[in-house]
Symmetry: C2
Subunit: 143 residues, 2 copies
C-alpha cells in the first residue's frame, strides 16, 4: 500500500498554498513578511533528505528550485535568492527559496537566527499572493 | 572565448580541496571545526544562482548534493544534513552541505549567526580529510 502524502502540520500552519507543480507544492511563508519567501515541498511521503528522493524526482526538484528563483527574480529584483533545505525542526523534506531584497534588514547575513518572526498583515498577504499568482499565470517563471 | 573557471579567493582561503566531481569541486570548510561541512562549487564561470546553470548541469548538481549528503551520512551519522546555496557574501555559486551531529552545539537551529567560527587544528583537519578521502575512494557515497 502506498503511503499518502500529507503536508506537515507546521508547514501547513506557517504557509499559504500557491500552486502544485509536477513534484512539489509551492507555498508562501506567511509567518515572515520581510522577505518574499517560498517553500517547495515534494509531494512524496517519508522523505527527509534530498538524497532520499528518486533520481528523477531530484531532477524535477532542482528545476522547480530554478523556477521558484526566477519567479522571485521577475517580481522582486532580489540582490540574491537564498536556497536552503534544512529540516532540523520540521523533518518533512522542504526547500526554502527566499528573495533577499534591497531593503533587507539583515543583509548580507543569512536570515536565520537574526530577528524574531514578523508575520504578514492580512491585506499585505493578499497583495503578495496576487503578485505571485499573476506572475505564475503569465508563465514568467519559466526558464 | 570561453572564460576560465577560477575558484573565488574567499572560498579558496576557507576550504581545502577534496575532489573534482563531474560538475563541482568538493571542498571541506576549514574555517569551522564543529560541523563536518562540505562545499560544492560548480566549475562554471560567472554563475550566481542555481537558475543560472544549464539544465543538464542542474541535474548533475543535485546528484552531487545527494552524493555529498550520503558521504556525510556514512561517515558521521548526522541527525540531519543541511543543504544551502546562499551566496550573499561570496557571489560565486556554491552549495553548503553540512552534517548536523549529535554533539551539535546549536541544534536544531541553523548554524548561521549563532557562534563565532572555530577553525580546525592542523591534526584534526588531517584526520577529517583522511576520513573523507578514504570514504570517497571506497565509493561509499554513491547512491
Amino acid at each position: 500500500m502506498t503511503e499518502d502524502f500529507v503536508l506537515h502540520q507546521q508547514l501547513a500552519a506557517d504557509t499559504v498554498w500557491i500552486a502544485d507543480w509536477p513534484l512539489s507544492s509551492l507555498l508562501l511563508m506567511r509567518a515572515e513578511r520581510r522577505w518574499p519567501w517560498l517553500i517547495l515541498v515534494p509531494r512524496r511521503p517519508g522523505k527527509r533528505e534530498i538524497a532520499d528522493l528518486e533520481r528523477a524526482d531530484r531532477a524535477l526538484l532542482i528545476e522547480e528550485i530554478a523556477d521558484a528563483t526566477r519567479l522571485l527574480q521577475v517580481l522582486y529584483d532580489p540582490l540574491k535568492v537564498n536556497v536552503a533545505a534544512l529540516g532540523n525542526s520540521v523533518s518533512q523534506l522542504h526547500v526554502h527559496v527566499i528573495a533577499r531584497t534591497r531593503d533587507d534588514p539583515v543583509w548580507p547575513k543569512p536570515i536565520w537566527g537574526q530577528l524574531p518572526a514578523e508575520p504578514y498583515e492580512a491585506s499585505e498577504l493578499e497583495t503578495r499572493l496576487a503578485q505571485l499568482r499573476h506572475a505564475l499565470t503569465a508563465g514568467r517563471h519559466k526558464g
